[in-house]
Every structure is written in structure tokens, then in C-alpha cells.
Point group: C2
Chain length 448, copies 2
């Protein structure tokens, strides 16, 4: 019994939805279908969810929302027409959008309900189409499915106790189509997940029904060993562990929304990334464990947008609590840090640049000076992080040697190395301007 | 105007003291002489300070102290006789030892005074000998010199306000011989520094009198680029910065007692390591700044006795304060840590093994489990730390490459790399059993 989730580009128009239907039809194990809102049809297109946010915001601010409304409705009409579905369905959708928009509720509640319009009605359309081509399929609202969440609009969290109750969904007849991106509180209020939250819905359903596989259909054949925007035609990854995936996605691999997989991972459900446009491609399988072969590096990820806060003080390592106090100042100011490598008399803290606005920067540096009396404190922006990821990597002699050789061959200075804290990755900090050439050189060293 | 400090082996017997006198005589700038207690005359010998500790302990415990007393006195007698000094001096020394030993004071106070007997009387002997060979030289007690310290027996700290007052010592006539290792509180109580504290006295005097140079005479020609017990005849280091020295001494270079140089460093006094047995050798000069040449690595230090506490938790990096809380537990238990490299979902804390007794280990791991709910927590002992130290190292492309190549060539797995937190060093964690071969390979890579 599988859960298949289809992303925005997989359900962007009738042509795509027909592909989705073929995929569902081809494997009777695909019982639970989770769908996104219609995504972009081409690179100049809009995502329906963006349009819905515009519409909701305009309505709340008493501005002109009608234009957005027409665009949204037209998009649904096009899909319904091209799929040759009954116009009654469009009328039902129109009614439901109007009701959501005009309902007399608080702005928070209205906004979350408006944002959910895309997924909700796309699920109705796809369910109708599946029935139309002869499959037994039913739309199921997340409330009915038992997706009960915390009351945090735009950032709902699944309530753990709701998962076991979902197991009985396996008994339902036929294919069940569930809209992604939202759930309901115990009091019955609609609340959305964070953006990209259809992955979360899929993950929750997979965990709840104890699926044998959670298939995540998107528009790429697989996860690649390196960013295809930097290296042409990079090798595909066939198998990854959860840990590897998390480390890769941390540094720029936009495979999954950060927290999306938690429910599936906790339930140890294997996850497969597949391509709606090329469903025969093997895809990338993500597992709790995998066999480690001699090629110990799985992928190389990289991301810009980091900065480094450097603090030095003579005899720092004899001052019990120095590191703790420094991290406490950051915590106090609500700034989470990424890494904090420390030397004997020095400590660096790597932070996402956007977390340290110029005002926060000034405040943090002032507090460090006032409270810790360091010899120096400084901030360097424009840092890129490069992660070399692979199970078994830390126990393999020579990986650091190959990696640093690759940086050297590309004439890139390594500002920071952090190895040994994680068992599956090695992290390097370099100047952001050097990132692309460093990545190409690393790819050559490990994959060519 | 220079301060010259002579270590235990440099003043162990009459032969050595004659060398010291020659050194002092050869440079009229050597005005302030700081001396240790007589050290070992050969590898089977004892240090006088150890004998004094035995004597004091025995006396306090009402045990037989006379044997130690005789050994101490005999040692002074031999030196005085061989230097052909007046027997009146020996009588004075004998009187003073007895007075110190039998004085009716608390055990703490007595112990510190007993420990100081070696330096104090050696200074009197050396001063007498310098006068005897025609130099104008006077013994000066630390109280008279203005070395006013905190009331922490065995671990005195210089009071910063006492330093400026010492400047007037420059006006004194002739050579001034000051015993190392102890000072006096504001109330006039004798208190010793931590062990090896004659270096501290020299450093304090150099800072106080604003010396042009602090010469530290010992029994090696210089600081070596690597431990001579691991690599035969290693290259000598001619210049080091304070920072480099500190990083080298951290990981096993026993050049200086950890805190000894603080006063000299704060006053930016250059420090020179010289050999009493070969005073013409250039030695190693330690400075605030030095010109960085193309050979950016100054030295390679290594030390065993570390352990690594590993903690992993899924989504750790999104949990604000996780790292801080972990370090807080260690602080709470009085365990200072060396480094704390962190990954995305993992954090390692490197700790000196002796700080983590099996009982503390159990307690700390229990607290981490109870308070932080990690996925895993484990401790690995038997780690060695290797430090590659050099100004300019972090800005030089290819250093990491050469270093990791050396580990690879020696077939040594790198468990941990910490680079970028310090501006002058790169740190590696390896299995202690691999240390010697790794060091030999690194030496070859950087110095041959």
C-alpha cells in the first residue's frame, strides 16, 4: 500500500493531471494520493497559491481582489474543461471559493482557508477525473482523514496522537485523494502547514497508514549528486539514507522541505523521489539504512548566505563557560546558529546571514564586548558552505585528502573545515565567489 | 635592559651556575636575573622543590622530615663549597630553613614558604657568586621587588596594580637577583605561583620594568618545529608569535607554563628562549608580530589524552539553545571543554580525558539523556590532537591539502578536523595510536 504525492508542476494543468492518472492506474498499490495546488505550467507562469495569497490579502485590506479571483477561477475552469469534466464541478468550486472568501471569520482564519483553496479543489478535480476514467476514487477532506494539527496558522504541526487513528483509512474502498498543505485543529479550524506543506501531508499519511512506500512525484528524475545548475548532467543518486538527505538538503539541495519527512522518518517509511514526466525512471530511494559501497560519497551540496562571527580572547579555553555564554547571547537574541567551531583562544559561530540583520549584528557585537570582554570580535559575510555527504565517509581514509586536493586544484582557499561532528558529512566554508569552481572540482574528484 | 630567567637545570649545581654567571657577565643589559630552585643534575637526580615538598609534608604530618632536610642542606652546601663561597652563607641558609620549617603558622602558609626555600636561597647563592667574581649584584626579595599577589596558596595571581610600581626598580644599582616562584600578598604573606612559576616571576618582572627583552634560559637551543622524541633532529624555530606559541604549547609543546607569559605578552615584551649550555645559539624569539614568509607553517604539535563526547539529535540545528544547554551541563559539572564542533544534527565536544572520570562520565551522559533527549550520546576515549600552527596559514591556499595528504600517506584516518576558528592553526583529531606516524609524515610534508 503506497502513498503517492504529486507536486505543483505534476498537477499544473490537464495534460499533467492525465499523466498523474496514468501513474496511479499503473500500480494498484497506489491507494493514497496527496495533491498540491496547480503549480507553474512554464517558467513564466504563476503558482496558484501565490495568486490565492494575493486574493486573500487584497480582500482583507479592502483592495481590489476580483482580478485575482478571476485568474484563480479561470485556471480551475481550464483544467475542468480540458479534462472534459462536468461544469457542475466548476460551479461547486466557485461556490466554495466565494464562501471561503466572504465568510465572517478573523483574518488569520480566512487567510489559511484561502491559501488551502488550491490543494482542496485540485484534489476534487483529480478525484473526479480518476472516477471519470473508470477508477474507484474519492476525495477525502483532511478532517475526515484525521489530520489533526496544532493551532499555529501557517505553521501547523501534526498532533502525534492523531497518527495511529489514521491506520483505519486502509479499510476504505478504492483510491483516496487528499489535498495537501493543511489540516484541522481539534476544534475543527482549518490551519495550513508551512509553505511546501503538501510534502508534509504526504509524509503524515504515509506514517499514519503505515505505507510500504511514500512516493514523491516531482519534475526531476532523481536527486542528483550535485547541483545541476553548477555541473552539467551530473550523476543521479539511486539510494540515500535519511541522514544523508537531511545533510544534503541543509546545504542547498531543495529535495524536501526541512521538516516534511519527520513523520515518515519516525515511522521508517521508505521514500522515493520520482518524475511525473518520466515515471519509468528509477528515481531516488531514501531509506533508514543502506548498504555502503566503496564509493563512500553520495552527494555534494553547497549553499551561500552564511556569515561567520569570530571571537578571540587570550586563554579562552581556561575560562569555563565562555562558549556557553557566547551561545547564550545569540539564543537570547533569537538567533539560531549553524556551527560553532572553537579553537583554544578563538571561537567562530556560523550563522545564516538573513538571521543577522545589521541591527541585530550591532546589538550582538555590543553584548559580546560588554559581557565577555573578548580581545577581538568581528563578522565576515559572504560565506558559502560546501557539504560532502556520505555514509561511511568519516571512517574512510583519504576522503579529506581528496576533498582538500580538489579545493587546491581549483585554487580555492578553505576558510573553515568542520569534520567529525557528523558521521556522514564533512563541511567546508569558503568565499561565496569561489563556490561554483570549487563544486566543479569536487565533482570531478569524487564522481568522474 | 633585559630580564634573564634561569630554569632549574641551568642552576642545578656550581658548574651550571658558573655558566650562568658568564652569561650575565657577557651582556651588561642583563640587569634583572630571576632564578629557579636547583633542578636535576642528571636524569636520575631529584629536583630540590620535590624534596622540599616531601620535607614540608613530612613535618606537617609529624613524620620523619630530617632525611629530606639533610638532602636539601647538603645540596646547598655542595653548591656553596664548589663555588668557594663563605660558609657564613650556608649558616644563614640553614637558619632560614629551620625558621621556615618550625615557625608557628597554619599548614597552608608553612607549605608555601617551604616550597619557596629552593628559589629563595639559590638566588642568595647566585647573587653572592656574582659579587664574588666582581660584578655589582644584590639579592632582592620578591616583597622588596613589589611582586604583590592574590592570596591563593599554590596558585597566586599577580595583582595588576603592582606592575607599574615595579618600574622604579630600573633605578637600582647593579644586577638584581630575584628568586622565582613566589610573591607576597598585600598583608605580607608568602604565596607561591603554580608549579613552574619561576617563568611567571620572570614574566612579571619583564612587564614591570618594561624590559627590552625577557630571556628564558633553559637546556635546549630553541623551540623545535616538532617534538624531538618523535622526529630526529627536527628543524629549529627562530621566530614565533605569542599566538603561535600558545597554540603549540597547548598541544604538547612544553615551552612555557600555560599562563606564565601573560604579563609579558600584555606588555608586548619580546621573549627569547636560550640555552644556558650553548648561549651562542640564536634561540627562539617570541614576539607579538612577525614577518610571515612563504613557509607558513611554524610548528607541528601533538598530544594524547583527549576524548570526544558525541551527541546527535534529529533537527538539532532548529532547536535554539541546544548547543548552549549541552555546554551548560558540562560547565555545571565543572568540566571545561576544548572544542565543540557541531554539525546539523550532531555535536562533538572534545575534552581532556582526565577531566572526565568514569563517575563524571556516567553523570554527564545521564544528564544529557534526561535534559536534552538526544537520539544518541556516546564517548570515545584515546584521541590525539595534532595542531599545525603558523601565522598566515589560514589565508594560504593548499595547507589543508598538504596536511591531509600527509595523513593519507601515513594511512591515518582523520576523525576530526577543526579549521577556521583559529587564525593561526589547524587542528586534527586522530586515534592516539596513530600519532607518531602521522607526525612524522606531517613533518616530512612541511619541513623536508
Amino acid at each position: 500500500m503506497k502513498v503517492a504525492k504529486f507536486g505543483g508542476s505534476s498537477v499544473a494543468n490537464a495534460t499533467q493531471i492525465k499523466k498523474v492518472a496514468e501513474i496511479i492506474k499503473s500500480d494498484p498499490e497506489r491507494k493514497f494520493i496527496v495533491v498540491s495546488a496547480p503549480g507553474k505550467r512554464d517558467s513564466n507562469d504563476f503558482k496558484m497559491t501565490d495568486m490565492l495569497i494575493n486574493m486573500g490579502t487584497a480582500y482583507i485590506n479592502n483592495e481590489n481582489y476580483e482580478e485575482y479571483y478571476s485568474i484563480v477561477l479561470k485556471r480551475f475552469k481550464d483544467i475542468i474543461d480540458e479534462l472534459n469534466l462536468s461544469s457542475l464541478l466548476l460551479e461547486e468550486i466557485e461556490r466554495s471559493i466565494k464562501q471561503t472568501l466572504f465568510e465572517n471569520v478573523s483574518n488569520d482564519v480566512k487567510m489559511d482557508s484561502v491559501k488551502a483553496i488550491g490543494e482542496n479543489n485540485n484534489a476534487k478535480i483529480i478525484s473526479a477525473y480518476l472516477s471519470d476514467i473508470g477508477l474507484t476514487a474519492n476525495y477525502m477532506n483532511p478532517k475526515q482523514a484525521g489530520i489533526i494539527v496544532s493551532d499555529e496558522p501557517g505553521n501547523a504541526q501534526i498532533l502525534p496522537e492523531s497518527l495511529p487513528k489514521m491506520y483505519s483509512l486502509r479499510e476504505q474502498e478504492g483510491i483516496i485523494v487528499i489535498p495537501g498543505f493543511f489540516g484541522y485543529t481539534n476544534k475543527g479550524k482549518l490551519v495550513t502547514f508551512s509553505r511546501g506543506g503538501s510534502d508534509i501531508t504526504g509524509s503524515i499519511v504515509a506514517a499514519g497508514v503505515q505505507a510500504s512506500l511514500y512516493e514523491n512525484f516531482t519534475d526531476v528524475n532523481s536527486v542528483y549528486t550535485v547541483n545541476p545548475n553548477i555541473v552539467d548532467n551530473p550523476k543521479e543518486i539511486t539510494e540515500l539514507t535519511y541522514k544523508e538527505m537531511r545533510e544534503l538538503s541543509y546545504a542547498g539541495f531543495s529535495v524536501f522541505h526541512d521538516e516534511a519527512l519527520i513523520p515518515a522518518i519516525k515511522a521508517k517509511i521508505p521514500v522515493c523521489i520520482k518524475n511525473t514526466n518520466n515515471p519509468d525512471a528509477k528515481g531516488t530511494l531514501i531509506l533508514a539504512e543502506r548498504e555502503v559501497n566503496d564509493k563512500c560519497v553520495s552527494g555534494i551540496a553547497s549553499d551561500t548566505g552564511f556569515c561567520s562571527l569570530y571571537v578571540s580572547k587570550y586563554l579562552m579555553n581556561r575560562e569555563i563557560g565562555f562558549g556557553r555564554k557566547l551561545l547564550h547571547i545569540l539564543e537570547d537574541e533569537g538567533i539560531s546558529f549553524e556551527h560553532a567551531p572553537s579553537g583554544i583562544d578563538d571561537m567562530s559561530v556560523i550563522i545564516r546571514e538573513h538571521r543577522l540583520t545589521p541591527e541585530k549584528e550591532e546589538l550582538v557585537i555590543k553584548r559580546i564586548n560588554d559581557e565577555l570582554h573578548p580581545d577581538t570580535v568581528s563578522l565576515q559575510r559572504g560565506i558559502a558552505v560546501v557539504m560532502i555527504v556520505g555514509e561511511g565517509l568519516v571512517k574512510t581514509v583519504g576522503v579529506a585528502h581528496r576533498a582538500t586536493s580538489a579545493f587546491y586544484n581549483a585554487n580555492v582557499n578553505i576558510e573553515m573545515i568542520n569534520q567529525g561532528s557528523s558521521e556522514v558529512s564533512m563541511m567546508f566554508g569558503i568565499q561565496a565567489v569561489d563556490m561554483d569552481k570549487a563544486i566543479r572540482s569536487l565533482y570531478q574528484a569524487f564522481f568522474e
